[in-house]
Amino acid sequence: MTDTSHGTGGLTFDKTKRSWPNELNILFALFVIIAIFELLGQTLPYMNDQSFLFDTKDRFDSIFNEARLQIIILQVAIIGIIALGVTQVIITAGIDLSSGPLVAATAMIAMSFAQTELVNGFPNPKALFGIWAMDLPVLVPVFVALAFGAFIGAVNGTFIAYMRIPPFIATLGMFLICRGIALWWSGGNPISFPTESFKFIGSGMMPVVWFLSLAVIFHVIMRYTVYGKHTYAIGSNEEAARMSGINVKRHKVTVYMIASMLAAFAGVVLAAKSETAQAGMGEFYELFAIAMAVIGGISLQGGRGSIIGTVLGAMVLGVIRSGFTYIKLDGSYQLMAMGGIIIAAILFDQYRQRNRA
């Protein structure tokens, strides 16, 4: 038989020949940023040789500055939960802008079903629904919140998939609607005094536990299940996915529902952590969640990226936040630096794309 092959080699399957995963680049960037802060800490005159991540004081028996590590991850955990859902939406080549206000709306709704009957021995003065909605088992507010999230996600997904409204517009509309719902729910008043079991959801390092366990679950789902594969396929080539018999519309609705349920759960955790719910909560959360995904290498064109990337992207944002506090720079510089890093992440992604083509 004549050899009509145009490549080198024949039928080979080499595990080691897989392309360099983008996640390693982000991990590398993370280390570089940490090193920069570490270096700044050692050189800036007013820092007194403090270390960013390491424990330089001999009072504790540990290598790392554990308090800082905890804060770094704790302050991104709740937005990170949203980012896990936004990641899936972006992988389908969509976008979800409604998650921040959805956090506020679900925080309000969940909290109104998590109130205690008596506050310091007196009847709850801010009871929204009266006596029947108080001292409910913790599952009730969580279930109501997730159901509300699923409903909002289903509406998003239906408008986007079946009525062909661009994701940006559909979720922008939902952005305003959810903020409106959050304000309307209690007439603009904050809702407070949750039950102890509700508080536990957001206490201490619980947000981190939720974030990391959900990250593991969705990593497995995106990497090893049919749902994940079809999500990538739709973002990569929607027409091909349709021709391959994937029910693209139904799948998109599912993706938006899952994203909104994750945002709703973030709202529950935030309300539990703050022990109060206010209509103004979650401002810019949607944008930070998108930023985490983008820094984590999720392509806005869809089809590429991973949950691991998003977790690393969240860590990058966390390190920057806590690094700027550490070198005692104002929050305004923080925002500028984050903006710069987002743009740099996109530039790097495009550079990678060009080099591959």
Binding site: H6, G7, L11, F13, S236, A241, G245
Partner: protein
């Protein structure tokens, strides 16, 4: 099982006021390779899309191996054994070869998990290797994403998809339109392999040499209608061109166009 692989009767498709396909009667036997030729917009691709369930026909009937079929979607058609290589490569760029081969019909385990059932990557890789071997397609590394591959390799992946699944009918819509000489040759070799294995094939093509090289019979479309049904031995390139341009119309199709 019937000897007739595919039969259509009065197959018609209107897009709004546009009559893209009108009353197409088509028949092919087991093991036969049939070419569909015609000018741009003659209804070739429309015809293929009706058979493969990508679109819903306006009217008419389709039989596959003697059974009347009504495909609700492309997956239905595929499950019935019709494998299609589309003009626009139906491949997902960011996925690798096994992912693309099995897109929409993955080998899975833990099926009780519904949409979250797990992919059996190992089985799919093995089946991919077998399928590539069967067709003689050479791809350096099947775990590379498709976007890193040449046009020929991509087309071969699309074709290997049809060979991996024991198909009852393979349809290729201009499989070599965008390929270089060497890559075209490779694709044609695959088509010959399918012929040797007795797999029926419909080949939509503009390439006269290729058609005369590969198929047994040529069906010509013009302005949404079938205007000729020619055995390769009874015709030549000039004759076919005459049918395509409308200088001639087959005797049994007189008055159709």
């Amino acid at each position: 099982m019937s000897d007739i692989v595919l039969k259509t009767e009065n197959l018609t498709k209107h897009y709004g006021g546009v009559h893209a396909l009108v009353g197409a009667n088509f028949e092919m036997k087991k093991g036969e390779h049939v070419a569909i030729m015609g000018d741009n917009g003659a209804g070739k691709s429309t015809f293929v899309r009706q058979i493969t369930g990508v679109e819903q026909r306006t009217s008419g009937k389709v039989w596959l191996y003697g059974d009347e079929v009504n495909f609700a979607g492309p997956l239905d058609a595929r499950e019935a054994g019709i494998e299609t290589v589309f003009q626009t490569l139906a491949l997902a760029d960011d996925l690798d070869v096994p992912d693309n081969l099995f897109l929409g019909r993955e080998i899975t385990k833990f099926n009780w998990l519904g949409p979250f059932r797990f992919l059996d990557y190992k089985a799919m890789r093995q089946a991919t290797m077998d399928g590539l071997e069967k067709t003689g397609v050479k791809i350096p590394n099947i775990r590379n994403s498709i976007q890193n591959m040449s046009g020929g390799q991509r087309q071969c992946v699309a074709i290997a998809r049809t060979a991996t699944f024991a198909s009852k009918l393979t349809i290729m819509d201009e499989p070599t339109a965008a390929l270089g000489v060497q890559e075209t040759e490779q694709v044609e070799n695959i088509i010959r392999t399918l012929k040797d294995q007795g797999e029926p094939l419909i080949l939509v093509s503009h390439n006269m040499r290729q058609v005369f090289d590969l198929v047994d019979r040529i069906v010509v479309f013009r302005r949404g209608r079938i205007v000729a049904n020619l055995n390769k031995e009874d015709t030549d390139g000039q004759d076919v061109v005459a049918y395509i341009t409308g200088a001639k119309t087959g005797a049994e199709f007189e008055g159709a166009a």
